[in-house]
Symmetry: D2
Subunit: 470 residues, 4 copies
C-alpha cells in the first residue's frame, strides 16, 4: 500500500491505525523489554507486549487469511519444494494481521524469520503475540520509544549463531541499520526486498552512489501494486473515512478534489457515484483533460473554495490548500488529505492565536474563526484513509504476495542474474501475482490457442504486457 | 426515518444507536429518578441522567443544526407570528441531537413542550441534559427500565396546572398511555402527529374502530419522507454499515439483495457503483422488471446462495433468509438486514447446539458450523443501518420539518377542516418542506410564468403534484 | 409509449418516424384508393400502398416478434381457450411492425380485426402489406391526405354484415368518428381501450359530460406503462437521438435538462453516465430535491444558458426555452425537446427575418444569428426521440400487451363489472403484464410461502402493490 | 484514432465510412482523371470528383472546426511567426472535414501542401472540392481504383519545380512510394510524421534494417492519442454503433465483452452505465483483475455463450469468436467487433452452404441456421465504430494537433537533434496538445508556485509526467 509507508516513516510520532485505535488499552506499565515471557512451547525468543493475547491475535490472523487466499494458495503450491528452505529472513514491516499472514507464509515455504516493526505505533500487540506463540522471533509492540525501535531491529539482526541471508524492509530503516552497524552481514545477503516509496528512494540513492552491495527488488513500483493500490484502495476508503469521522451525507455535496492522478480518480469515482458534485484542480494538462472527459469540471481552487462542502487533496504536493483558501471556506467545510504528503494542507498556518481548535471526535478538529465559522479538519491533515478508515485486506494481499515472490526470486536466482542494483519484478511475476488473486472472484482466465499466441507473438503463459507497461 | 420506528418499537430491549454505543459509559449507578438535579436557572422540571453534561450536548445540537437549516429557517420565517403560541405539546420521540433541534424549533415558534423518549436505549444523555438546561421539561435517559419508560411518559402528561393540547408521537406509546390513563385529556387535544409505521397503523385501527377522537396527521406516509428516506438514506448507509463492521472490500464482491423496493434500490445503487456484482430476488413482477432494466439479475435465492459474498435483506417480510440458505452459504459470507422486520433473517434457527457463536466485534458475530464454516452475521439480524451506521442528519431534517409543519397545520386549522380521522399532510406542505431544504444545495427553483401556469392549469405556487402522487 | 401519441395527434402534418424516413421511396403516384389489389389468397378486403411489399414487411414483423415475446407467450397461453373468440375489433393505431405483432396476437386469440392508422405519416407500408396478405382488413398507407385518413377509418367501421363489438384506439379519432357518424354501433360495443394521453383525456371529458355510453380502459396510465415508458425509454433514446443527428461527443459536455420528472430522470442518468456535466431546472421543489440528491445542480436557465453545450426540454410545459434564452446561447449550442409538447422550445420566435435557417442534415437546422452564431435546432423542436431515434420494441411490447389484456378483460367481463366509465387495468393485470416480460431477461421470480403471504396479508399470486400505487 | 488506420490499410476494398455511406450518389460515371476542372481562381492544380461541391464541403469543414478549436487556436498562436514557412508537405491521409481542418492549419502556418487519400473509399468528395477551391493541391475522390490510388500519390510527389521537404503519412503508402520511386526526394526531406499502427510498424522495420534515412515521428503512440482514443472513443461509439444498426435496448441485456484493455474498458463502462449486465473474457491476469475490481464477471466465452444477447470483441487477436461459439449462440444474438483486427470473429467460418445470409439493413446481416436460429452479424465482423457510427471530431482533433506539432518540431529542429530514427513526441508537447484542448471544456489549469515546483523537482511549465509515462 504505497503511500502509507512514506507517511509512516515521516510521522512515527503521530500515526495511529484505526484498528488499533479501537483502544485495547495498555494492560500494564512495565516495558516489554523488562518482562520475562515464554510461549507455550517454552521459547523466549521474542519480545512482545503480552504473550497471553496470542489467541485473540490468532483469530485476527485467521480473519485476514480469508481475504489473502493468494498467499494461502502460494503456501499450497510451493509447499512440496519449499523454495525458501535455508532462507534466513530478517524483516521490518508493520506488524498486523495481514503481515502476519505473509510472515507465516514465508515460514511455511521453508524460511526462518526474525521480525521487528517499521513503525512505533502500528503494531497489533495481539498479532505479535500470536506470531511469538507460533515460534516466530518477533520483537515489536505498540508504543515503542525511539530507543525501543532500534533495540528491536538490533535484536533481529544481531543474534549469535544465526545470520540473515535475506532482508524484507518497509521504509529502509532495517537496511540502514545493517549498513551502519553490521556491514559484514551483506556478505551473506542474497537480496533486499523493499516496499515503500521512501525505502526505494534510499535504495536508488545507494545505487547511484555505488554503495548498494546486493541486489534489491523494488516492490513499490510493481504493476500490480501501482494499478490497484491507489485507484481501488482510495475508491474503497474515501467514503469510509469521511463517514466514520463526520457522518456527512454525500448526496448533493459540492466537493473539490485537488489532483486527478490515480488517487484522485479513485476518490472522484466513489464520490460521484454516491451523488456528490465533484470539481477537480490539476496542474497537468493530460490529467485535466481526462477529468473533463470523465465529466468533472476542472477549476482553480480559488474559483470554488467559497461554495464547496468538502475539500480533498490528492496531489503529493505541498501547500495545496493554503491559509488563504481556509479563510475563504464556508462554515462547516470539511478538509482532508488523501495524498501522500502531510503538508498538502497547510495545517501549520492554522495554529495561530486568533483561531480556536476544538477536538470534537477522535481525528476530527473544528478550527474556529473569530466570526464563529468552523472548518472541519480531519486527521490534522495527515492521510485520511490511513488514519480514519481501514485498507481492504485484499489489496494488502497483492503487495504481500509480491513481496513473497520477490524474496523467492532473489533467493533462488542463479548467480549473476541480478547485479548490485535495484530491480523491478519481472512482468511475468506481476501477472502471476494477479492470477493468484483471481480465484477470490471466481474469475476464469481464457487461454490463448497456439495459433493465437503465434499471431500475437506471445508465449501462451505470458508475459502479456510489454516490459515498459505500468 | 420510516422503518426505524417500527423496529425500535419492537425491540426496545435490543437496539443500540451507534453514536451512543461509542460508549460514554454510565457515570454512576444511581437512578435519575432518585437524583435531585437543578439546571443553572434553578429549575428542576426535568429528569435526565446528568445535567452537567449539558454543554457537551449543546455542541452536538449545534453540529446537528448545521444540517437542519430547514428548521432554523422555519424558526426565522415564523418567528414574528409565533404560530405555535399557546400550544402545549407533549412529545415522545427518540431524544437525539436531531430531535432536540425539532423540539427547540417548536419552542421558538411559541410552544411549551414536555418530552419523553420513545425508546429506552436511544436517548443521548448529553442532549437530554442540554434540553433540560435550556428549560425543556424532558424526562429521559439511556437505559431506562420498562417501569422508568412509562414513568417518564406519565410525568410528561400528568402535571398539575398544565394540560397538553397537541401530541407528537413516534410509535404510539404516548398516545396509547393517554387513551388508557387520561382519556379526558383528549377533550383539549387539537391533534396528534405520528411519525412511525407502527404508530400510524395503530391510529388507522383506532379510526376504523371509531375510537379516534381527535384528528391525526400521518407523517410517515408524506411524500417527502417516502421519496427520500428509504432510497437515499439506504444508499448512504449500506456501504457505511458494511465497512464499519467488516471492513469488507466492495470491488468485485458477489452480492444478493432480497427485495427491490425503495430500500433495495438504494442499496443496489450504492453497491453497484462501488464495483459489487449485485443480484436481486423479488416476489413482485413490477419491481423485478425494474431490476432487470436497471441491470441486475433477478434470481431465486437458492440459485446464488452458494456463491455470494454478501446477503442483504430489504423486504419487510419474514424468514427471507432461512436456515437452509444459511447452511448453504460459503465460508465468510456476510449476512445482514436493511429491511424493517427483525425476522427477515431467521436468526432463531441459528441458535442451535451444533453451531458456535463467536462475537468478533461489536455487532458482529461469527456463526460457526461444525465443519469450520463461518457466516458473518451483523447486528444479530436487526437493522444494519440503525445498529451499525449513522443516518444523515439532513434526511432526519426532512421528517422533523414535516412534523413541525403538521403540528402548525393541526393547531391552526379552522374548526371543522379536520375531522376525527387520520390525514396526510396536504401536498402543498410537502412541497414547502422540500423547498425549505433546497438552500442547503444552493439550488434555485424556477417559477412558472402566468402564461405557463395557465397552460398547465396549475397555481404558480403549487401544489405541482396531484394529490394521489406519492 | 405515452408522450408519443399526443404529439402524433397534434402534428399530423409533420411527424416522420425515422425508420420510414430512411426513404423507401414512393413507388408510384397512384393513390392506393384507386388501385385494385388482391392478396395471394384472392382477397381485396384491404387498402395499402403496395401488396407486393408483403414479404419485406413480414420480415420486419418477425424481427419485432423477437423482442415482443410477451405477446407471443400470450398467444400460446391463451390459444386453447381463444379468449377473444367472437370479438370484432375495430382498431386505429400506428401501423408498424410492433402494432402488427399486437394485431396478429388479437387474431390468434380469436378476434376479427379491421384496422386503420392513427397518423397519416407513421404507417410502415410494407408492414401494412404484410398484414393485408395475412388476411387482416387494413386500410392505411404512409402519406395519407386528411380525406384519406377519415376514409380509412370509415372503411373499418362501416362494413355490411360486420359490426364491431370492441374498439382499440390511439388518440381518440376512431372513437370520435363512431360517436359522430355511427352512434348506434355503441349498442354492440362492449368496451373501448385507449392508449394515448389525448384519447384518454377525451374519454374522461365524455364521462364527465355523461356521454360515455360504454366502459373504457385507460391503458395510458397503467403502472407498467408509466413506470417503464418515460424513464427507461428516454434513458435509451436521448443518447441515440443526439448522436444520430449531431455526432456530438458526450464526454465533458455541459448540459442543461429542463424538468426532472421521469423523462428528465432518464435523460440525466444516461448523459451523466457518459461523462456529461448535467444541470437541472425545475419548478417543483420535490423533483428539485431529488435532483440535488442525485448529484445535479439545480439552476435557473438564465444562470447557465451562456455556457452550456446542450439544452434539453422535458417539462410538458410551453415556452420553457424562449427567444431570449436562444439569443444568449453560445455558438454551436444544441437545442432539443424530449418532453411532450411541441411548444417547449419557442421555435416560432426563431422564424424572424434577421435569423437565417440552414438545413444541414435531415432533422437538423442551423439557426444563424447576424453575428454568425449558430444554434443547432433538432427536429424543429418536436420530440427528439420520436423524430430522430427509435423506441425499443421491448418497451412497446409492454404497452401492446397491456392493450391486449385490456381487450380480453373488457370483452369477457361479466355483465355489470364495468359501468359506463373510464377504468384503469386492475393492479393484478399490470403485474401479469410485467411477469410476461421477465423471461426475456431470464429473470426468476420468488414465490411467497403460505406463511409469508399470511404475514404480509397478501395473496401469494398478487396483487402485491396497493391499488393507489403508480 | 489508432485502430482505424490499420483496418483501413487492410481492407481498402471494403470500408465505408458512415457519413459517406449516407449516399450522396455518384453524379456521373466519368473518371475525375479525365475531367477538366478549374476552381474559381482559375487553378487546375488538383483532381477531385466535382469542384462544384466546394460550398457544401466548406460547410462541413466549418462544422468540424467548431470541435477542433485546438487547431484554430494553434493557427492564431503561431500565425505571426509562421513556423512552417518554407515547408513543402506532401500528405496522404483520409480526406475528411477533420483532416481538412488540419491541412488548412498547416497552410495557415506557412506550409505548401499536396495531398492524396490513404484509402480509396474514405474521401469526402465535397471536402476535397472545398480544399481544391481553397487552393490546396488535392488528388482524391471516393471510389478510386487501385491504379487511381497510386496515380494520386504520384501526382502529389512528382511535380516539376516543387519538391517536398516533409511527409505526413497515415498507413505508410506514401512513404513506401517515395522509397520505391523517388528515393532522391529523401535528400531534402527533414522528417516523416506517421499516425497509423501499420505505418509506424513499417518505420520501425526500416529503422531496424538501417534503411530509415530521415527522422520520423511516431504519432500513434503519443500519450494523448493512447490515453484518449481507445478508452473515450469507444465509450462514445459502442452504444451508437449498436443502436444505429439494431435499435437494441440496452437495459437488462446480457453482454460479453472479449478483452478488457482500453477499448474493452470504454465499451464496458458505457454498456454498464446504460443497464446492461456485462461479462468479460481475458487472457491477461492483470486486466482480468481490473475487470473484477470494476464489477464485471470474468468468464470463459464458452461458459456464457448460450445465454448472452450481445458479443463484442475488443482483443486485437484472431478467431476469438469461433464457429463453435456461433453455433451455440441463442437466437437473435448480436455479434460485433470493436477491436482492431478483422479476424476477431471468424466470419469466414460462416460462409458455408448450410447457413443462409440475409442482409436486413446496411451493415447488418442475419446469418440463419438450418433450425431457423438467427445470429445478427454487424459490419461483417469489421470494426463496428468505423463502419456503423461516427468518431467524435474532438477526439480526432487531438491526433490532428499532435500531427501538426510533430511537423513543426521536425521542421524546426536544430541540426542533429533528431537522427535517422523513429521518435515519440517529447512529453512536453503531448502536454501542450492536451492544454490546447482544455478551453473547449472551459477547464482552468492550476499553476505550480515556485515553491511547489521546487518541492516536486519539476519545471513550472512541465513536463509533469516522466518520459516513460504512457
Amino acid at each position: 500500500y504505497g503511500h502509507c509507508s512514506l507517511v509512516l516513516a515521516h510521522d512515527r510520532q503521530e500515526v495511529k491505525l484505526t484498528r488499533n485505535a479501537a483502544g485495547r488499552s495498555s494492560d500494564d506499565e512495565v516495558s516489554p523489554r523488562e518482562k520475562q515471557q515464554t510461549n507455550s512451547k517454552g521459547s523466549s525468543n521474542f519480545c512482545v507486549k503480552n504473550i497471553k493475547q496470542a489467541e485473540f491475535g490468532r483469530r485476527e490472523i485467521e480473519i485476514a487469511e480469508q481475504d489473502m487466499s493468494a498467499l494461502i494458495s502460494l503456501r499450497k503450491r510451493a509447499q512440496g519444494e519449499k523454495p525458501l528452505a535455508g532462507a534466513k529472513i530478517v524483516g521490518c514491516t508493520h506488524i498486523t494481521a495481514q503481515t502476519a499472514v505473509l510472515i507465516e507464509t514465508l515460514c511455511a515455504l521453508g524460511a526462518q524469520c526474525r521480525w521487528s516493526a517499521c513503525n512505533i505505533y502500528s503494531t497489533q500487540n495481539e498479532v505479535a503475540a500470536a506470531l511469538a506463540e507460533a515460534g516466530v522471533a518477533v520483537f515489536a509492540w505498540k508504543g515503542e520509544s525511539e530507543d525501543d525501535f532500534w533495540w528491536c531491529i538490533d535484536r533481529c539482526v544481531n543474534m549469535d549463531g544465526w545470520q540473515a541471508n535475506m532482508i524484507l524492509d518497509d521504509g529502509g530503516d532495517l537496511t540502514h541499520w545493517v549498513y551502519k552497524k553490521y556491514p559484514n552481514v551483506f556478505k551473506k545477503i542474497r537480496g533486499i526486498v523493499e516496499e515503500s516509496v521512501t525505502g526505494v528512494h534510499r535504495l536508488y540513492q545507494l545505487s547511484k552512489a555505488g554503495k548498494l552491495c546486493v541486489p534489491a527488488m523494488n516492490v513499490n513500483d510493481s504493476v500490480t501494486k501501482q494499478k490497484f493500490d491507489n485507484l481501488y484502495c482510495c475508491r474503497e476508503s474515501i467514503l469510509d473515512g469521511l463517514k466514520r469521522t463526520t457522518d456527512v451525507m454525500f448526496g448533493g455535496k459540492q466537493v473539490v478534489v485537488c489532483g486527478y492522478g490515480e488517487v484522485g480518480k479513485g476518490c472522484c469515482a466513489a464520490l460521484k457515484a454516491l451523488g456528490a458534485i465533484v470539481n477537480i484542480t490539476e496542474i497537468d494538462p493530460i490529467c485535466a483533460l481526462q477529468a473533463c472527459m470523465d465529466g468533472f469540471r476542472v477549476v482553480k481552487l480559488n474559483e470554488v473554495i467559497r461554495q464547496v462542502d468538502v475539500v480533498i487533496t490528492c496531489t503529493g504536493n505541498k501547500n495545496v490548500v493554503t491559509r488563504e483558501h481556509l479563510d475563504r471556506m464556508k462554515n462547516s467545510c470539511i478538509v482532508c488529505n488523501m495524498g501522500h504528503s502531510n503538508t498538502e494542507i497547510d495545517v501549520t498556518s492554522l495554529r495561530t492565536p486568533e483561531l480556536t481548535w476544538e477536538r470534537v471526535r477522535s481525528q476530527v478538529d473544528h478550527v474556529i474563526w473569530p466570526d464563529g465559522k468552523r472548518v472541519v479538519l480531519l486527521a490534522e491533515g495527515r492521510l485520511l484513509n490511513l488514519s480514519c478508515s481501514t485498507v481492504p485486506t485484499f489489496v494488502l494481499s497483492i503487495t504481500a504476495t509480491t513481496q513473497a515472490l520477490a524474496l523467492i526470486e532473489l533467493y533462488n536466482a542463479p548467480e549473476g542474474r541480478y547485479k548490485q542494483d535495484v530491480y523491478l519484478l519481472p512482468k511475468k511475476m506481476d501477472e502471476y501475482v494477479a492470477s493468484l488473486h483471481l480465484p477470490s472472484f471466481d474469475a476464469h482466465l481464457t487461454e490463448l490457442t497456439d495459433d493465437q499466441a503465434k499471431y500475437l507473438g506471445l508465449n501462451k503463459n505470458g508475459p502479456f504486457k510489454p516490459n515498459y507497461y505500468r
